[in-house]
Amino acid sequence: MWRVGTVVALHDETTTARTITLEVPDWPGHIAGQHVDVRVTAPDGYSAVRSYSIASAPNSERRVEITVERLPNGEVSPYLTQEVAVGDRLELRGPVGGWFVWRAEQTEPIQLIAGGAGIVPLMAMIRSRASAGSIAPFRLLYSVREPRAVFYRDELHTLCDQDRSLMVTYAYTRVAPMDSPRPPGRINAPLIADATWPSNLAPTCYVCGPTSFVESATDLLGASGIGRDKIRTERFGSTGERK
């Protein structure tokens, strides 16, 4: 069933990514990591649907946030990142997905690994942890092209300052800031050893990003001794707008 959501806020995360906050009066609630189908319809009835990861924690305000990265040849993402205005209405279906999820009852160490826009469902997990008052130890390894491509930077900074059991490591692939401890480069075995939970703590790992990134990150986790049953993945292709 399709529900109507009203856009109540817009926020540009980067020059190409925008967070859309929707108020959905009959939203049934969601779990961190789930996604939602968004349907947009032209005046002649033509419609297009895309799946987007939910960025927000479950909340009592019936609000759902998605962060959409604009794809150069996308059909829906340019509309959502450039045209949509506060007060507009979008149709939503969901939440969807019961596998790539983190529940507040989970107490084991959690390793999050994001590639680019793959941060979105992982941010929902970090936000859910904070809003539930969970003390599950979380680490996030966030691989991103350059500093200005980082989503949610200030909020991540604030959350880390408040809570020693949340640790965030940035891995810049093209341009690193001057105070970065590492030169730019793709994630590799030394970085995995340095920035992720050791396998003897049996962390549950959530890896989200482009296909090639997820392949290499999960291979590195496997090589570091993490069991494959502890690794959950969500991938998107270059045209897959599932973010």
């Binding site: 947009v40 296909t211 993945t233 991938r235 292709g237 045209t239």
Partner: protein
């Protein structure tokens, strides 16, 4: 008609006519998998048909590749809403694999390296509707797309085409596989848009 989205025009193409409802066309090949990609060496690969108790037939890579193969050109449809038209595969028909098996089973559970499972009616695997595919677009099937070999059942959503397939279990009664236990449709016909368990 649903709520009109102010300012949305969309992009229509002649190919839309060939797409199931709610799908859009892609020319590349996105990947959907729940976990790490298994890397299965060919000398350890095997494909087993069993009935839950007994092994009925078993092939190693060598004996599997000695079976007659077919070239298959089909449209594929992923539940994440992309469709890809005219994909070319090479594989062994399930009809060939089932040829000398007598069974009164009505369903199967496909099993994969990496412990993925998906359920299908046996009738959907028969009569030139399903293959074990090992080449895509003229090349050996890449691991992230299910290589060395995957099930290919193009008339259902692609999650039914189990990657890294290692066997099928014949069953009297249907039961849900991996995604089917997690909110996805038990059958998954893209033309009836059977995406989620509540559909139809």
């Amino acid at each position: 008609m649903g709520t009109i989205s102010r300012g949305f025009t969309g992009r229509r193409s002649s190919a839309d006519a060939k797409l199931p409802p709610g799908q859009y066309l892609t020319t590349d090949f996105p990947v959907l998998s729940a976990g790490p990609t298994p890397h299965v060496p060919l000398d350890r690969w095997e494909f087993v048909i069993d009935d839950g108790t007994n092994v009925l037939r078993k092939w190693d890579w060598k004996s599997f590749r000695e079976l007659p193969t077919e070239t298959i050109t089909v449209d594929i449809h992923c539940v994440t809403r992309w469709s890809k038209l005219g994909t070319v595969w090479e594989g062994v028909s399930i009809d060939t694999l089932l040829a000398d098996i007598q069974t009164d089973a009505s369903y199967v559970m496909a099993h994969s390296y990496g412990d993925y499972t998906t359920n299908l009616p046996l009738d959907d695997l028969r009569n030139k509707q399903a293959w074990i595919a090992f080449r895509f677009d003229g090349k050996d099937l890449a691991p992230e797309h299910g290589g060395p070999a995957r099930l290919l059942v193009p008339h259902l959503y692609l999650w039914k085409s189990a990657k890294w397939v290692r066997g099928i279990t014949l069953m009297q009664h249907d039961k849900p596989g991996f995604w089917e236990s997690l909110g996805y449709h038990i059958y998954g016909d893209p033309w009836r848009e059977q995406r989620y368990s509540g559909d139809e």
